[in-house]
Amino acid sequence: RFVGSLGTIVIKCKDLRIIQLDIPGMEECLNIASSIEVLSTLDSVTLLYPFFYRPMFEVLEDGWRSFLPDQEFELLSSATDEWRLSCINKEFSVCPSYPPVVIVPKCITDEELRKVAMFRYGSRFPVLSYYHRKNGMIMMRSSQPLTGTNGRRCKEDEKLINASLRPAKRGYIIDTRSLNVAQQARAKGGGFEQEVHYPQWRRIHKGIERFNILQESLIKLVEACNDQSHNMDRWLSKLEASNWLTHVKEILTTACLAAQCIDREGASVLVHGTEGTDSTLQVTSLAQIILDPRCRTIRGFESLIVREWLQAGHPFQQRCAQSAYSNSKQKWEAPVFLLFLDCVWQILRQFPCSFEFNEQFLIMLFEHAYASQFGTFLGNNESERAKLKLPQKTMSLWSWVNRKEELSKFRNPIYEANSLVIWPAVAPQSLQLWAGVFLRWNRPSQYLEEAHEEMVKIINYNKELQERVKVLRRHLAEMEAAERAQGNL
């Protein structure tokens, strides 16, 4: 992440910033460089900043306990009793990448779940991701079934998936791989559900890219954005070659598809790819943002990230290790979460009044996912986090963010709760490069910020005036009442 030569250190940061330091002495320069090198590539998780960070603020609410599955289930059970909370994974014994408690259909026993887990990659059996209150349709997620080349079946798996449907209802299995890729997966023991064995379900394949393809895309995009000398043609062709916006479109389209199945078609949905820890989560979480107004509030969005990313076992530590400037090719590195945030930003831009949080909130999450003084994004799943004793030894990001002082920075001044489903446009003309992240250090933003301040000023002034009018009106009314009373006397 740095290149040192002749007293100059170039530091390339994970938030895409590039800093150049000119240091007079050659030796000092080398020393500093090697120190930075060592300090920025610590091997052991327990030596990272979150383990030494001592907060300078008073902790009012422990973020580690802010979003518990029990609360989520309580909400669910107020709407339906077809689901139950299962503690089958208590010691992470069934599925290492799942949280200790998960929500499953009521009629499926833990014993049956164990069998289903054997049939799914990484033991990630289908669990409830979202319940659509409007029509009772649901969204589940899992990993791929281990059908292999000889088409293995699992009765319990079929039972579970069918049990999630109400009688005479249909469902869609959204496979986030193209049919080709899914077929190839069979050779390695994976595969997909045969429609004959799941008669009420239809399978749809949508190819969302993974891993190094995404990582290369990010690297290319950041390269293009950092070179200011590009002429127009070169810039556009570099932007195109990065494929970043294509990925954004793919993901948004698939999420819209899932949401459409649920809201428009009145069908339930099961989403999975291969592992069910990357593109699956992008789709399930974005679909919820489209469908559920609660996910567009600050609290609700935080809860969504905890549920659908942290607890669902998105391997943050592997995916968000180095960011765009890594020289060594990290096999597991991929900007899956950043792409998700980018998609949220695209929706936010199209519905600027429907989100309680603003762009800064998304950028903040991007930064903390890659490097943070908080323990929230450390580890690859709940089991690792438990082993590292993160809740005891580190501070949660939510403890910090959810304080009044901090929240005020992330609030959208023009938010107005919108209970509707919001359908984003996914035409290429409607998508934009996320300048707030990718051009953040390269473009003059002073005027934009000033304009934003002016906007906030207008809004606040409006509130103030409304208050004053109210007070004056009341006052006048009282005076008039008093006068009438006097007149009566």
Partner: protein
């Protein structure tokens, strides 16, 4: 009138359509759908009508408009379709100016209003504002009766030292007689933007008067003795012109000039570039990469950037070096207009106000003879003369408004509205190709001026974030022209494709809020006055007021952020309303609430819609 006509959604894949009735009037095409929604299309806006091969549901008819609207009708019977097609072809192509809409349009103004409307923009006043005539520059009557140059206005400003013979001589050496004249004068720097057409230099011709003319311009600038000559064409084009006896200035023949090419392409390149852009953006089920590579291949944004870059070069010469600049292209009415007007816009904050922008267009485009009629195809003419030169100028300005959100008094809607009327032929301003033609058409007597109408509804065009004191000391805008700052102008090219736009508009919201603020301020004044009046009447109330004013603070804290929904939940509110009778605020609130563009669930344009997958 044809019934049972279907209007197809341009980008929907599921062939969704609305059925309704199509009418043709003398001036408009009108479509009323079953829910009584009306779509009006002015015949002059129609750029092309196309009949597609017959389908099972009827005969498809595609109408392309100059404001980038594309409508796709399906007419059940082929005969009807053919009739509509023929009538539209006739109606949309006009042979004579007198048949244009402007000559029949009657906005219910009386004569004095009409005259006043035309007087709204006074260019003599504008030159006075710039500071001319002065010790160096004077008004010349050389072009009285359009004797020297038919496409220039009558009143022209030239250096005092340029005598009439010099002017006449110089004009003979310039293409179409368009000799160097003043376009903008920068008071503080004493530097000028001048414009002209290319010299008839060929490979070696010289003209002493023309050389004198340029010298006069550079001498008219006391702060810098040399001047820039900007040829806005690519060097190759300019050199090719030499073979036809035209060309560019030879630095050796002119004293103290610095010659510079800036490479903006000609009208033909621009026309085909826009054509390509529209082809790409009109594709159904477009992928991101096809869009980006199409955008690149069209070259459109490259051209936009070239124009802005040229303007930035011009502005630097004036603002940094205090040097005067002479701008020309071939005939000096396309690229020259773009660069001069954009340069002035960057230099002078006046042109960033609503009125000032009108003045700028009147000056650099209308009066100096940008060929609006030919470029916008007002009459049925040579299709090779059509070119989106003015559209590009508006797009450059839009890009600047994106970079400097507080520097402009007007918003995007204003630019779009001007674009609409440049093509509508509804007002007289843009008719014809030059002042002389408009005079002959008696435009000022027979038609109306657009500007008073825009000014009357300027509320719609105001940028709520506008800050007149933006950059208080230097009014100069210095845009960043790195490629990524230029964006595809979706609201121009997809203005009528609703599915592509954000469902909620921050601009509208803020505009409404700042309007509301003004109203509230007035309400407060009114209420305060009433209270004061009453206070005079009784002392008892005064005591109450003091108690009252102690209270408001806690209320303010409790107000939820979604303030728009609350319909003043104050206990005393109803009483107030009944007492005051017609309270303006009440009506407005409900209006506002309904105006707030709520999220309307629209069908997502999925290439593989659910419908298709399930069948």
């Amino acid at each position: 009138q044809v019934e049972q006509v279907k209007l197809l959604d341009r980008f929907s894949t599921s062939n969704k359509s609305v059925t309704g009735t199509l009418y043709l009037t003398a001036t408009h095409l009108l479509f009323i759908d079953s829910s009584q929604k009306e779509t009006w299309i002015l015949h002059h806006h129609i750029a092309a009508v196309e009949k597609l091969p017959l389908t099972t549901s009827g005969c498809p008819l595609v109408i392309q408009c100059k404001n980038f609207r594309i409508v796709h009708f399906v007419v059940p019977r082929e005969r009807d379709c053919h009739d509509i097609y023929n009538s539209l072809l006739q109606l949309s192509k006009t042979a004579k100016y007198e048949e244009l809409y402007a000559f029949s349009y009657n906005p219910k103004q009386n004569e004095s209003e009409q005259v006043k409307g035309w007087q709204l923009i006074d260019l003599a006043e504008e030159y006075k504002r710039m500071g001319v005539p002065n010790a160096y520059w004077q008004l010349s009557d050389a072009n009285r009766d359009y004797k020297i140059c038919e496409t220039y206005p009558k009143e022209l400003y030239v250096p005092r030292t340029a005598s009439k013979p010099i002017i006449v001589g110089s004009s003979k050496f310039r293409s179409k007689g368009r000799f160097p004249v003043l376009s903008y004068y920068h008071k503080n720097k004493e530097a000028a933007i001048c414009r002209c057409s290319q010299p008839l230099s060929g490979f070696s011709a010289r003209c002493l008067e023309d050389e004198h003319m340029l010298q006069a311009i550079s001498k008219a600038n006391p702060s810098n003795r040399y001047m820039y000559v900007m040829d806005t064409r690519p060097k190759l084009n300019a050199m090719a012109n030499r073979a036809a006896g035209k060309g560019y200035e030879n630095e050796d023949n002119y004293s103290n000039i610095r010659f510079q090419f800036v490479g903006i392409e000609n009208i033909h390149v621009m026309r085909s570039s826009l054509q390509k852009l529209l082809e790409v953006s009109g594709t159904r089920g477009l992928s991101v990469n096809d869009f980006l590579s199409g955008l690149e291949n069209s070259g459109w944004l490259r051209h936009i950037k070239a124009v802005v870059d040229a303007a930035v070069f011009l502005v630097k010469a004036i603002a940094v070096e205090s040097a005067s600049v002479l701008v020309h292209c071939s005939d000096g009415w396309d690229r020259t207009s773009q660069v001069c007007s954009l340069g002035a816009l960057l230099l002078d904050s006046y042109y960033r106000t609503i009125k000032g922008f009108m003045v700028l267009i009147e000056k650099d485009w209308i009066s100096f003879g940008h060929k609006f009629s030919d470029r916008c195809c007002q009459l049925d003419g040579d299709p090779k003369e059509i070119s989106p030169v003015f559209t590009q100028f508006l797009e450059c300005v839009w890009n600047l408004t994106e970079q400097f959100p507080q520097a402009f008094e007007y918003n995007e809607v204003f630019l779009l509205q001007i674009h609409e009327h440049v093509h509508s032929c509804q007002f007289g301003n843009f008719l014809g190709n030059c002042e002389k033609e408009r005079e002959e058409l008696k435009v000022k007597e027979k038609t109306y001026s657009l500007w008073p109408f825009l000014l009357a509804e300027q509320k719609k065009y105001r940028n709520p974030l506008y800050n007149p004191d933006f950059l208080p000391e230097l009014t100069l805008l210095e845009p960043n022209t790195v490629s990524f700052n230029f964006k595809f102008w979706r609201n121009m090219y997809h203005q009528f494709d609703r599915s592509m736009h954000p469902r909620q508009s921050v601009l509208n919201l803020i505009m409404n809020l700042s309007e509301q603020n003004k109203q509230l301020e007035e309400d407060i004044k009114e209420l305060e006055a009433k209270i004061k009046q009453r206070n005079g009447q009784s002392d008892v109330v005064l005591v109450k007021e003091n108690q009252q004013s102690a209270h408001p603070a806690p209320v303010a804290l409790k107000t939820p952020p979604c303030f728009k929904k609350e319909q003043l939940p104050v206990p005393g509110n109803d009483a107030v309303r009944t007492i005051e009778g017609s309270n303006t605020a009440d009506n407005r609130y409900s209006e506002l609430v309904s105006e707030f563009s709520k999220a309307e669930p629209a069908v997502v344009s999925l290439e593989y819609g659910v419908a298709r997958m399930t069948c």
